[in-house]
């Protein structure tokens, strides 16, 4: 799944919650109100959209602080870096 498509899904989740959705990749998740719960929804939607199971084992076990970190993580987990 393309990085821009994942970003679009992330923006949709933020928009639905009434949060600013025009976010830069450098934006801190805490600053834009993107929570673990939102991450779980995004991951599910990425898997559903791509039609391929995400493999979190393949993704690095580290802190995810920015939008770019989310996109990196989910691209790796979907096997499409």
């Amino acid at each position: 799944m393309k990085r821009s498509d994942i970003l679009q899904l992330l923006q949709e989740i933020l928009k639905r919650q009434g949060k600013p959705s025009d976010v830069a990749e450098t934006a801190e998740l805490s600053a834009i109100g993107f929570r673990s719960l939102d991450f779980s929804e995004l991951a599910l939607r990425v898997e559903t959209a791509s039609g391929r199971p995400l493999t979190f084992d393949a993704a690095p076990l580290r802190a995810i602080r920015t939008v770019a970190d989310v996109l990196d993580f989910l691209q790796t987990a979907s096997g499409q870096p």
Binding site: L44, A49, F56, R62, R65
Partner: protein, 264 residues
């Protein structure tokens, strides 16, 4: 037994070896305390039960710790290593397995069942008739209701299956069923049935994901919680915890197919 001066202990109570009872307690006659229990100051143990449970004993398993100012009614039975905080109320007809932990000021209204290793944090309220499985977490201010038409004598108790996590401030409406391993996000209000492994959030709660996708962003810890918190349980519980984890994850793909429609 030691330190029981100023407490009223019925001579008919069956007190196990090496039990410590604090000051100002009352232990009624229908009580059986296993060995090595500790009863905190000003606790009332074995209060007479209502009609349905009249004459039934209160059995508290070995190695239990009841902290001060608890009130526990007769007609209940607890496995070993029950632990309560302060000011806990547990009404009659409560049946619990091993190592139930009940936080301070929690309130269990009776006719309830709990499996092994359940955790109730402070101020949890468990309505009468609730059924709670094994390895369940009910965080602070969780409310399990049971009256579908208050006030009434109707009962629609809540069912919480094995491995469920209910986060802080959640309300479970009458008749709610939480299937195995689901997680309810903080401050949600839930009714109906939440599928196994689901993550549900909101007031009213909707299913937003599966616990297999839930990750702590700051530390990289991954749900289900058995991945990173199994060590909090004793060795003899480990096989059951891992079996529970597997059961939750096995259901992941079917869950994605059958329970979720991506939001547009």
């Amino acid at each position: 037994m030691s330190d029981h001066v100023q407490s009223l202990i019925s001579p008919k109570a069956r007190i196990g070896h090496n039990v410590t009872i604090g000051h100002g307690c009352r232990i009624y006659e229908n009580v059986e305390l296993g060995e090595n229990c500790v009863i905190g100051d000003c606790s009332v143990i074995g209060l007479p039960a209502g009609v349905a449970w009249a004459g039934k004993p209160l059995k508290i398993g070995a190695g239990s710790t009841i902290r001060s100012h608890a009130a526990i009614y007769a007609g209940s039975e607890f496995g070993p290593k029950l632990e309560t905080g302060h000011h806990v109320l547990i009404r009659e007809g409560t049946m619990a397995g091993e190592n139930l932990r009940v936080g301070s000021h929690a309130d269990i209204e009776g006719d309830c069942t709990f499996g092994d290793f359940c955790r109730l944090h402070s101020y949890a309220h468990v309505g009468r008739g609730s059924h709670v499985g094994h390895f369940v977490w009910l965080y602070s201010l969780t409310t399990l209701t049971n009256d579908p038409l208050p006030p009434s004598d109707l009962h629609a108790p809540v069912t919480v299956e094995d491995g469920v996590v209910v986060c802080v401030g959640v309300t479970l409406m009458p008749g709610t069923v939480l299937r195995r391993g689901c997680l309810i996000a903080a401050e949600s209000s839930v009714s109906g049935e939440v599928p196994g492994g689901a993550v549900a959030s909101g007031r009213p709660a909707t299913v937003v994901s599966h616990v297999a996708f839930l990750r702590d962003l700051a530390h990289g810890r991954q749900h289900p919680w058995m991945n990173h918190f199994a060590a909090a349980y004793p060795p003899h519980a480990q096989a059951r915890i891992q079996a529970l984890r597997e059961a939750i994850l096995v259901g992941r793909d079917e869950f994605v197919r059958t329970h979720l429609t991506p939001k547009k």
